[in-house]
Assembly symmetry: C2
Homo-oligomer: 359 residues x 2
């Protein structure tokens, strides 16, 4: 009888330990997904005049085009936390940004699934799997590896910065350069934020996570949908930030370009004061002007972000900029979500979500 | 004591029953994923002459472009079957083809994961998330909804065929039209099959599953990589099939275009005789010439496929065409993998894999 109890207890413990429900944090444990799938959302339908005939079926005459939508792939764990994370990539990127890192480790998609968040990985309109465009556009081969190396703050081409959180092997560089994918139509922040708002209106309340050039349409998404309950933004940029009309900072020139504020009515801007906002920037950002386009661009983006946060807080909001080296986290590039220390970065995010009661 | 045993036994049974390992076939049960991630594979690097300067960083001078690779997202279940399924989409499509169906049911991605296959979902070079191209290309708005309605054999626009396995609601039509995404570079079967062969060389042996225009580069993938251990092809087309040099059929004209054979050396063609091949076509395919471009295109594609299979078998191979209505499965469109009866279609595939010892 005692043997039976011991056997059953041991078996039960073995089953519980081996159960993926128990310890999903470890990369070697299976992921448990209650629901996964994908859909297109938002967009418009445009029509070409004329009459369709089978004999001229390739002509646009009389046919419609379904365009300017976003694509999203979602995964929801069992017993998911209340608010899912909705990930919007940056310029020249797709949802790939949030998947496997260039050196093959888990990205934020898997990391936050393991932490019981639903995750939505978006390709913005006119990008990636959401390529159908309402306006024609010419794609050119991306001769830009040195520009990207600089803008991503990997180093002084071809040398990596000492202590940079990017892997040294050539295959990782190959992977991150290939994960870029072109615009298939003219870049349009309004088209992107419309589709993002349609996504939030469909799925309900959630937390928007943006990166780089995705930061700017991200701010507008929050203005367009009250279902955006918080914004986490990694290195927002692209030379534009939102401010209240009449309170725009003077344009600032960096080695990358001219950085400007874009005005919205104060009533609209006040929406930013009703949700918690956190913005992260990594390392190797210049303190004074330099010709290194990446170090200089992010010098000014960081400055613009701080002014944005100041205005939000002056109107009663809860926004902050975390410049990672200032809290002792060194070596981060423009891609903290896939840098070598991305679990540490995810831990920061988790702690902030907990602090704000968002988990 | 007896109570303790009863309690522990009950708890153990409860844990086992609730364990997702036990019954993953049901759409309401969680999916268990041992590994999931994504990577870029294959492609080339091209370089622009000249010298890079920070002040002209947007110019291609002296910079490299990483291009013409494929993207793949993979999911491997615990205790996976030996050979994974590698899914290559068709013309104007991306990996989305194999994900959620237009009406929100599970696609082949989830269905075959639940059947313990590893699944690799590809975006071919110059498409979707693998958009970086070595040659420039202009993208136009896709004014083609009537053409597509016909080519996909949904019906006589705007009426669905009676009994068609495509849902009647307008949102499903909206979804399938939006899942199209354009070429970002000139269409090139050789570029696609090179990247697909690189994928098979990286992941090892697997089963290639192709759709439509993906069929043709799929045949060439099997010629380029001996890791392709079987081919399952849904409605291969695109007006080209492979035959041995000197044994090409006469070109055939359909309402869609001119369909031709493309010759490869017999020694190469013999590779098709060493792997099992199955080809599926759906319903509403014309038996004699008609002006309906979809019904007429697939009439000739089916004819070309039958000739291909005949040649493969004449040289000792194991290839077959399954015309679904002939085995009593009615109403399928050009997308059997997402039609209303896609589980029945998946069952056919599973039965064939079992028969061939591939599961």
């Amino acid at each position: 009888m005692r043997k039976k109890i011991v056997f059953l207890s041991t078996l039960l413990i073995a089953v519980l330990i081996s159960s993926p429900y128990v310890s999903a944090q470890n990369q070697n444990e299976p992921l448990i997904i209650q629901q996964q799938g994908s859909f297109m959302v938002g967009g418009t339908v445009i029509e070409n005049p004329g009459e369709f005939t089978f004999s001229d079926y390739r002509k646009p005459d009389g046919q419609k085009a379904y365009v300017d939508h976003a694509y999203t792939f979602y995964q929801i764990p069992p017993d998911a936390r209340k608010l899912p994370l909705v990930f919007l990539h940056g310029g020249g990127q797709s949802g790939k940004t949030w998947e496997t890192t260039p050196d093959g480790r888990e990205g934020f998609q898997n990391i936050f699934l393991r932490r019981r968040f639903g995750v939505y990985i978006v390709d913005q309109p006119r990008r990636g799997r959401a390529g159908a465009t309402s306006l024609p556009h010419t794609v050119e081969p991306p001769f830009n590896n040195i520009m990207v190396f600089s803008l991503f703050r990997f180093g002084n081409y071809p040398d990596l910065f000492p202590g940079v959180q990017f892997p040294k092997d050539s295959e990782s560089m190959n992977q991150i350069l290939r994960q870029a994918t072109p615009d298939t139509g003219p870049y349009d922040d309004d088209v992107t934020s419309e589709a993002m708002a349609a996504l939030f209106n469909k799925i309900g309340e959630g937390i928007l996570v943006t990166h780089s050039r995705g930061g700017y349409p991200g701010w507008h998404t929050a203005l367009k949908s009250s279902n955006v309950k918080a914004i986490i933004s990694f290195e927002p940029g692209g030379t534009q930030f939102v401010y209240p009309e009449g309170e725009l900072p003077e344009p600032i020139t960096s080695a990358y370009g001219i950085h400007r504020g874009v005005g919205v009515p104060l009533e609209e801007f006040m929406k930013f004061t009703r949700i918690p906002i956190i913005i992260y920037y990594g390392d190797f950002i210049a303190e004074k002007p330099t010709s290194h386009i990446g170090q200089d661009q992010w010098r000014v983006e960081l400055q613009m972000a701080r002014m944005f946060v100041d205005v939000v807080n002056r109107y009663g909001g809860d926004a902050q900029v975390v410049h990672l080296p200032e809290i002792g986290i060194k070596g981060n590039t423009h891609f903290p979500m896939s840098d070598l220390n991305n679990v540490e970065i995810a831990d920061l995010v988790s702690a902030w979500l907990k602090e704000k009661g968002l988990d």
